[in-house]
């Protein structure tokens, strides 16, 4: 019986993958741990590094995609291959601090003792984390508030939760899955919206300290693909946005334009920036026009 599976999607992560895997403290878990790595057709030798580590860390199980299939497909493969009662994630360039797995498992165990087995259904437990931009001297501690209304906190972008912060039963992840394979970016958000639609909720462990670190840079974050991903989410979950009122829906949608523009600016991609700005202006005009008609 495997107690916990840590799922790691990896693509061209030769430099960081060892650091990530070594940050998983299997001895914190009372039971077997499976470190499930899926190499998504890397061409920089990521898979052979993981293979070498297997000698040292027997918990590792390596899956390989024959070609580069993208994040969502890789995540779905990990989800379907995982065997643990509980499941959590780690990105190849990030690290867990000592104590993270223990804190999350203890929280889940306490919930199970209090509310019974069904208490774990639809529950994801997360921790605070460090946010470390390349070039920063030290990380900034992030403390996402536990949301009262998970759906709203996702739509209005007030909940800064990521998949690699979350631990829950494997079944909880399976019920909310699969990941939308047409979302090259923002799979976390798409997955969480579906999770909230099904009545899922987030709980933070009692420990206030950051328990993992997110190494962030803007390399290769193509503004247009971010934009398209937001648009797909807006179209798929339009009814959830509008159920909080047209005013909120349009405000939250406008945030998508701003984020995509920020990426374009970060990449000095003036053409994309101008294009998204044009769309944003049209969106605002359309909104004003509608309000003029419907609120007159």
């Amino acid at each position: 019986m495997t107690r916990l599976t840590v799922c790691i999607p990896a693509y061209n992560a030769a430099e960081e993958i060892e650091r990530a895997i070594r940050s998983i403290h299997v001895d914190e878990v009372d039971g077997d741990v499976e470190i499930l790595v899926c190499d998504d057709g890397s061409d920089d030798g990521t898979a052979s590094i993981v293979e070498r580590l297997t000698a040292d860390i027997p918990s590792i199980r390596l899956l390989r995609n024959r070609s580069n299939r993208g994040r969502p497909v890789t995540r779905n493969r990990l989800l379907s291959e995982a065997r643990g009662d509980f499941l959590t994630w780690l990105d190849a360039d990030d690290e867990k601090y000592p104590g993270m797995l223990r804190a999350q498992l203890e929280h889940l165990q306490r919930i199970e003792d209090e509310r019974g087995e069904y208490g774990l259904e639809g529950l994801l437990v997360y921790t605070n984390y460090d946010w470390w931009w390349t070039g920063w001297e030290r990380p900034r501690a992030m403390t996402p508030e536990q949301p009262d209304d998970p759906m709203m906190s996702l739509l209005d972008a007030s909940f800064g939760g990521y998949l690699w912060l979350m631990m829950g039963t494997r079944q909880t992840f399976l019920d909310a899955g699969p990941f939308d394979e047409r979302l090259p970016r923002l799979q976390d958000l798409g997955f969480f919206i579906r999770f909230a639609e099904l009545g899922g909720r987030f709980e933070r462990v009692d420990d206030e300290s950051p328990l993992c670190v997110y190494h962030k840079d803007d390399r290769g974050r193509d503004a247009m693909s971010v934009w398209r991903a937001f648009t797909r989410l807006w179209k798929t979950y339009r009814h959830h946005y509008t159920s909080y009122g047209m005013f909120n829906a349009r405000r939250w949608r406008r945030h998508h334009y701003r984020v995509a523009r920020r990426f374009a600016r970060g990449n000095d991609d003036t053409a994309t920036h101008a294009w998204i700005l044009t769309l944003e202006v049209l969106f605002v005009i359309r909104g004003r026009f509608r309000r003029l008609i419907f609120d007159a």
Partner: protein, 408 residues
Amino acid sequence: MSGMTAGRPHVALAVTALHGVSGGAERVMVDVANGLHRRGFPVSVFTYQTHNGPSFYPLDYGIARLDGRRKHSSGRSGSSLGGLTSLTRRNRLAATGVWIAQYAPKILAFRRLLRTARPDVAIGFLPSSFPYLELAATGLSIPVVSSLHNVPLRDLGGDPDRWDQNPVDIWARRRALRRSAANTVLLESFLDQLEPAARSRTHVVPNPIAPATLPPADVTTGPIDNTLLSVGRLSPAKDHATLLRAWARLERQHPTWSLRIVGDGLLYHELIELVAELGLERASIESSRPDIETVYSQAKILAMPSRYEGFGLVTAEAMAHGLPVVGFADCDGTNEIVVDDVNGVLVDSGADRIAALADELSALMTDQSRRQRLASAGPGSVRSFHPDQVIDLWDEIIVDVARSATSS
């Protein structure tokens, strides 16, 4: 989202609101949603509520919740048009206009949700959802099931206090019952109240009654504190006044007995005044409480003075807890669950309801062995309302409707 997954059709259940709504039909809907979901049906719940938020009765994780209302989409709210009732009765054109203004957004909202979730079957609970759901499904080839949760005649315009009295809305309700793939009513006797075109596609699906978790009530006469119990909303239909007046005739003769009424409602102050006016000493009225099972298990008899019941949830629950029930023979709902002299007493109201009720109660209060005999039949007579059996019925209807929709 899903189409026909793994053989189980995807079911959508529609109701106006679940957030902060503690009604009986909402509870049944949540029970049915959870029951079907646990059997492996993909389930979605559609609402059209003014306030977003979690359901009062908890839905299981895995059931998709979709709300179709576009809040604040305009400064107006539909309810302000409700003030035009008298106009809608006089003028057909005005009635149609008001109805469209009031309900078109709801119909369109349900249509959007049907197109988003693409269920194989959609079930509308209560007359506040199924007429609009049926219209919303036009041309989408999604079969709709209309589910009634009260006496059909009252739901179809016979009760001026139930639902919209706009004749167009009443027409829409009748139309939905004729055109749905299937309908459900709570009791066998309700079938006769439907027109033939609706009746032929209507199934009887009672409310689920969970078996008691406490041991059955001890109905033998004790030295003190023998409780005559009544549970239910304090409303005119439940007619607690008749019970109090009947009790006024019994109180002196039965010194070890007391009357306990449990429930909330608009008539609370009126009934308290009546207790004072009749000079009753051992009659209490208290607020409803979550540990209702304990209340049943401490009583000796359940008195059900209602004039009509949509189902008789309390009657069935009391029987599950081993209480004999005394109710009126002319009360729909009660008269279908209570079998006279088997699991309770059906009072022939005759010319004087109060006297008739008092006589029958008095007889049962003094006859311990009869009480025990009736009480022991209680749990068995509500066994067919066991949640598993009720979900079986829903299961069958859904699978049937989905199959005939795909084959046609």
